[in-house]
C-alpha cells in the first residue's frame, strides 16, 4: 500500500453501530398534570402497575480508522461499557421504581434515549459517541445526537 493511500485511509471518518437489547417495564405519570390530564394524555400507559417492552438500543460511534489496528474503536471496550453502564442498570428493571433518575424523569422513549446518552457519553472517552437510537417497538424509535447538535442531513 502506498503512503498516499495509507494517509487517506487514516483520515477517513467512519461510523460503527453496536446493537443491544434489554427488557424493562415502565408507566407514565407526570406530577405536573392532574390525574385526569395524565389519563387523557397517556391512556393505557398511565397504569401504575406498568407494562414492558423489549427495547433495542443502537449505539453509534464515529471517528477515524486507526492506521495500526484498522478499527475505529475496539468493539470489546464498547460492548463492555454498554453492558456495564446501560444494560446492567436497565435490563429487567421497573424503570420508574428501580432506576433513580426515573424517580423524577418520566421514562418515555424520548427521555430514555437522552438518559442513555448521558450514561454512556462520559464513559466513552476512547471514541466519539455519535448517536443513540432506541426502539421501544419495531414501529417506534427515537434518535438523539447529543446536546445542541445540528444534525440536519447528517443521519
Amino acid at each position: 500500500m502506498g503512503a498516499a493511500m495509507a494517509a487517506t485511509m487514516g483520515a477517513a471518518m467512519i461510523y460503527l453501530t453496536r446493537r443491544a437489547e434489554f427488557s424493562a417495564s415502565h408507566y407514565y405519570h407526570s406530577p405536573a398534570l392532574t390525574p385526569e390530564e395524565n389519563q387523557r394524555l397517556y391512556g393505557k400507559c398511565a397504569n401504575p402497575h406498568g407494562h414492558g417492552h423489549n427495547y433495542v438500543l443502537e449505539v453509534t460511534v464515529g471517528g477515524e480508522i486507526d492506521a495500526r489496528s484498522g478499527m475505529v474503536v475496539d468493539l470489546k471496550d464498547l460492548k463492555e461499557v454498554m453492558s456495564r453502564e446501560v444494560l446492567e442498570v436497565l435490563d429487567h428493571r421497573f424503570l420508574n421504581r428501580e432506576v433513580p433518575v426515573f424517580h423524577h424523569v418520566i421514562p418515555t422513549t424520548e427521555n430514555l434515549a437522552l438518559e442513555i446518552w448521558r450514561m454512556l457519553a462520559p464513559k466513552l472517552e476512547f471514541c466519539r459517541l455519535h448517536r443513540i437510537r432506541l426502539y421501544e417497538t419495531p414501529d417506534l424509535f427515537v434518535d438523539y445526537f447529543g446536546p445542541a447538535k445540528d444534525v440536519s442531513g447528517e443521519w
Binding site: Y28, S30, A32, L33, L41, G43, V105, I106, P107, T108, T109, E110, N111, A113, L114, P138, D139, L140, F141, V142, D143, Y144, F145, P147, A148, K149, D150, V151, S152, G153, W155
Partner: protein, 143 residues
C-alpha cells in the same frame, strides 16, 4: 436545532396498487422505461412509511410529540386515503406518474400542509418521510 432535541420516528404501512405509465410518452417508450411496472393491469405493494418529527422534549410530559395525535394525523391524511386504493386514481396522480419517489414527496406535502394545525407542532417539526416500496427499495424526503 435547540438543546436536547430528539428525532422520533413512527412506522406505518398501507397497501396500494399502481401502474407506471407516462401519458406523454409513446406506448413503446413506456414499456422500455418502466418494464413490468408498465403492465396495463397494474400491480400492488405493501408500502412501509416512516414519519420522523424532531423537537425538544417537553419536561411536563416527557414527550417531543403526542403520539396519539401523530398517529391520528397520519391515519387521516395518508393511510385512510391511500390504503387499498389504486394510486393512479388519486387526484394527485392523474397528472404525474405514481412512482414511489413522487408518492414520497406527495406524502410529505400532505403532512406538511396539515402540520401547523397540530398541537404537537408547537414543539416539534416534521423532519423526514421515508417510504419503502419493498424491503429492497426505499426513498427519503425532507422537504
Amino acid at each position: 436545532m435547540t438543546a436536547d432535541s430528539v428525532h422520533l420516528t413512527r412506522r406505518y404501512w398501507f397497501s396500494a396498487s399502481h401502474r407506471l405509465h407516462h401519458p406523454a410518452l409513446p406506448e413503446q417508450e413506456n414499456r422500455e422505461l418502466y418494464g413490468k411496472c408498465n403492465n396495463p393491469g397494474g400491480h400492488g405493494h405493501n408500502y412501509f412509511l416512516e414519519v420522523t418529527v424532531a423537537g425538544p422534549v417537553d419536561p411536563r410530559t416527557g414527550m417531543a410529540v403526542n403520539l396519539a395525535e401523530l398517529d391520528q394525523f397520519v391515519q387521516n391524511r395518508v393511510i385512510e386515503p391511500l390504503h387499498e386504493s389504486s394510486l393512479n386514481e388519486q387526484p394527485n396522480f392523474r397528472e404525474q406518474v405514481p412512482t414511489t419517489e413522487n408518492l414520497c414527496v406527495e406524502i410529505y406535502r400532505v403532512l406538511e400542509e396539515g402540520w401547523p394545525g397540530m398541537e404537537s407542532a408547537r414543539r416539534a417539526r416534521l423532519e423526514r418521510v421515508r417510504l419503502e416500496e419493498t424491503s429492497s427499495n426505499f426513498f427519503e424526503y425532507r422537504g
